[in-house]
Subunit: 600 residues, 2 copies
């Protein structure tokens, strides 16, 4: 049956060996006390929480779902207890600043934590998933009085936060938001009290029984504000007011969804609810973006979590399930399941080997890129060298939309491919993988659909600065080409990665030149550009993993996979998965391929 | 909201213009009376049943599901009435022989009917889905006494049929079937009475309230039969015995599945149930294969149905949903939704145009290949020229596993991609597309997983005869190259199709040569070979569609799409979807790429 065992040894290998994060921490005063052993202990504890406390609530939460009454939302059995344990363990405070009562650990460890939580129970993880973003918005944008009233409870997790953006007519197009903010007293300014009126949909955790209070961050429009996104403000609207009375915030229903049944997706109504502006008037989107960028990386981690969950469950099942004689058997059968004359483990059949190695190689690559992105996020905030901070921030700007799109797509598609390993059993709820398929699907949509991410990548990140940031990132990745080229065993990695970077540069030039005549061209091929860049990054990750596996100084951690296994995964990625990059780069250059408007 | 409008005009265009089926019917005495107008009337009536009677039961059937008690299965509300209307309309008899009370129409029309049924309600369609296969098995293999007792009721649909193969330990590996058949009287021979004991799982419609009786076709093993598939026999086991008493056949439960909730997937127990051998002892698999081949093409049609349902719903939604200003607007805006200064239909945004055209192009190609395959099936059975019959049967042998795998994968993946058009709404049950995603997933698994189809294609269909049948099919497809090459506007189609056929031949030669040294090589790349062949066939279909659209003698039917729209779809397929073929052919040639056994 479906289980989740936090792959702590694998995570540590990527973090400490492949990416050498401890060397980076040593350079950052905020993390100078942190070493590999402490990180290992944090991850081990987080892994125990995810595997032992949270994972057992996953399947029941899917079957039971949330219950709505006019009085509010009841979460599935076990959710409250798991959340209590999460708060008692101090997990919400992990990456919060010590000045606000946090533990001051890197985002990198927080991202690794959330990978495990999402893998163990995506639906449950939706509740604390926005805590850190809400914390950052309040920390950076709220007036001191609001900070004093709400920050500590968000850091501890005593209260949860929500992000209220979407309205029925305003999905991807936030300029259409209509929710109204009326000044109650004084001038429009940060911290001003407002009455909020309007309806929001798709609000994750808009109501729940996990905490006594909720801190809603509501995108709204002051009376007489400009139309479009430049007239949007942000308001903090608590469920329970400071005097203990219930605010006029109502959950009018929850959605019946494809997956994440344990997460209450709420229809919210604000009926002259009491709130306070947070950030400057009409600058709400800028404040919200702070929250959305962190949220996008969180969503990317959900993709990695689903990849891991699908991979480890498929490997276990394939090793146990016996069907037919395999055309070849392992040379060293002692390292695998022993069989008699009867049928062999399906893990020995070529089609299944291919699926299983595909899952493993993708998981390894995505995790490596994800952790690198989180490491850069920390450097962007904390590195003492301003140039390093700027370079890291520039890399993160490009990596974030790629990570969000690539990992969520691979997370979902890999779960869907993994399901095939179970045959008919995969379609049955009891085996768990079909839930992973359903749960993982949402991550391709929320926090900006994957198509929106591709547009963000191409227009804002690659082209609008003339390709400067992209050039810097490509230069950084090219260092791996040089390192691999120096080792005979890694020539193929060096060559393929070098080729990917050439194609990336060519594509940038073509987009830049082509859009002068035809501004729509980069948008028509945006999905392919993102997929091409994604493959270049995966190639970089496999090269780095392979190089690390060859290095005697980087023996994998005890209890984890062998150097040979890491090597196999990287080589498989290079040989079987990199050919797909060709198609994306080729289509990205098709400036004149017809993409007509629809004719009936 | 989700609806299904049977695309009768599109179907007729493919059938009568693109494939010129009436010319083939005129050559076949069995269908000499059939003309395009009659076919159009049959499809129109079938379309009304699918759209007006069946489609409204789809979403409620998903929400309600089946109910099991020890007394049996209750289908969702509306299912019984729809089945009654189906039987009263004479639909089960459509393609049955007039000698058995059937209407004697081509399989082609029956396949088109089942495309519509699956699109309108896949779960419901599972019940009659095996009727025709059961009819064929009884017609061709049963002794006269059994035929007299069961055939007419299967033709009329008064009783339903099931196919009882799978056991917990015997999924893809039918050689492990244990269900026991004990002779009650006489020698082991066709028609001998037997007592059946054993358990079967995943039996679609193993019990239901749609009919008074069920005809189970049970794969079983006579006492003392050889081990493996050569000891399998087939028995007919009715739910209700000829004397009106209940047979010892029990449904012990139904599965909780990802989708097709309206279809009861039953755990069956046979407890010395009365049955009769059907076909020769120990030759059960051969008899069953007759049923399975028809069933595989039926499953392929489910893929086409899901493609169509996803496509038409996505197009409708994208035309209505307004979000953001599109970077370009149609030149002739009068042909599209008129807009003011506000947001545009998302159908105008480049990423959505790409998704919508992808869906349309795939649907057109798959339907064309599917109908061609069905047309060949009819020719294989009914053409007066023995050489034509043999050639058609050879083509069908290759096309069947490709159609099953390719269409079901594209059906599911396209529904999944279509979901993205709805954004967050797509994840919510009310909008219907998430049900299409879940329902369509099963078709990649049952009747032989798609991986099993790929092995069947490569080993049995492409290689075991030295490539003779494949060569004949490639020659047939090459005629389209010549026809397109003769028209300047179709040069690109001619070139790409010619290239595909070259690669197919190269691949055949490489597989044949390579497997002499390394028998596992064709199996490692079987999925890519199937996908490559699938792309070659899609290219052929797009070429044929484009050529038909240019031909003034083939104006599309009234009420259907314009010639320009067909042309757009085919050109999009050529430019945007054919590049993917490269990857599959390239990987298919990677004889020495590592696919190691799993190392922990």
């Amino acid at each position: 049956m479906w289980t989740y065992e936090a792959p702590v040894a694998d995570m540590l290998h990527v973090l400490t060996r492949v990416l050498a994060a401890p060397a980076s921490w040593a350079e950052q005063p905020a993390f100078a006390e942190l070493d590999a052993d402490t990180a290992a202990e944090v991850l081990a504890q987080a892994g125990r929480f995810a595997s032992e406390v949270l994972a057992p609530t996953n399947a029941p939460g899917d079957l039971h779902g949330c219950t709505w009454t006019p009085a509010g939302v009841t979460t599935p059995p076990g959710y409250r207890a798991a959340y209590r344990a999460f708060v008692d363990g101090g997990w919400p405070a992990l990456a919060c600043t010590p000045e606000a009562g946090g533990q001051g650990l890197p985002q990198l460890l927080n991202m690794a934590l959330f990978e495990m939580l999402a893998a163990a129970n995506h639906g449950w993880t939706m509740y604390p998933g926005l805590l850190h973003g809400a914390y950052e918005v309040v920390l950076h944008h709220a007036v001191p009085e609001l900070r004093a009233r709400y920050l500590a409870q968000l850091v501890s997790g005593e209260w949860l936060g929500t992000m209220c953006l979407t309205e029925p007519q305003a999905g991807s197009d936030l300029g259409q938001v209509r929710t109204k903010a009326e000044l109650i007293a004084g001038a429009a300014a940060n911290g001003a009290p407002v009455a909020i009126t309007g309806s929001k949909i798709f609000i994750s955790g808009g109501d729940s029984d996990l905490t006594d209070n909720l801190v809603h961050l509501v995108l709204c429009r002051l009376v007489d504000a400009p139309a479009g996104t430049k007239g949007l403000s942000l308001a903090l609207v608590p469920k329970v007011l400071p005097d203990g009375s219930r605010n006029a915030v109502f959950c009018d229903g929850i959605e019946h969804k494809m997956g994440i049944h344990g997460s209450a997706t709420c229809q919210m109504r604000f009926d002259r609810a009491q709130g306070w502006l947070i950030g400057e008037p009409n600058r709400g989107l800028a404040a919200m973006f702070l929250m959305m960028n962190a949220a996008r990386l969180h969503v990317a981690m959900q993709g990695v979590g689903h990849l891991e969950a699908a991979t480890q469950n498929a490997w276990r099942y394939a090793a146990e399930r016996l069907q037919m004689r395999a055309p070849q058997r392992p040379i060293d059968a002692a390292r695998n399941v022993a069989t008699g004359a009867g049928p062999d483990p399906i893990a020995w059949h070529p089609a299944m080997r291919r699926t299983l190695l595909t899952l493993r190689a993708r998981t390894d690559a995505c995790r490596t890129i994800a952790y690198w992105c989180a490491l850069l996020l920390d450097e962007a905030d904390h590195h003492p060298d301003a140039a390093r901070r700027a370079a890291a921030a520039d890399h993160v700007a490009i990596l974030t939309p790629v990570a969000k799109s690539l990992f969520t797509e691979l997370g979902h598609r890999s779960a869907d491919e993994a399901l095939q390993v179970w045959g008919g059993y995969g379609y049955v709820h009891d085996y768990g993988i079909e839930q992973t398929v359903r749960d993982s699907r949402i991550a391709m949509i929320y926090e900006g659909t994957n198509e929106i991410q591709a547009i963000d990548l191409v227009q804002r990140k690659l082209l609008d600065d003339g390709g400067a940031r992209a050039g810097a990132l490509i230069d950084e990745l090219a260092q791996e080409v040089a390192r691999c080229a120096a080792q005979p065993a890694l020539q193929a990695f060096a060559e393929t990665l070098a080729d990917q970077l050439v194609r990336w540069r060519e594509t940038l030039a073509a987009l830049q030149a082509g859009r002068a005549d035809d501004g729509e061209y980069p948008l028509r091929v945006a999905d392919d550009v993102l997929a091409g860049v994604g493959h270049a990054l995966m190639c970089w990750a496999w090269a780095r993993i392979a190089r690390t596996a060859l290095d005697p100084a980087h023996t994998p951690a005890a209890g984890g996979r062998s150097a040979e296994a890491w090597q196999q995964s990287a080589t498989f990625g290079l040989q079987w998965l990199m050919p797909q990059a060709q198609v994306h780069w080729r289509r990205a250059l098709q400036a004149d391929a017809a993409l007509p408007f629809l004719v009936a």
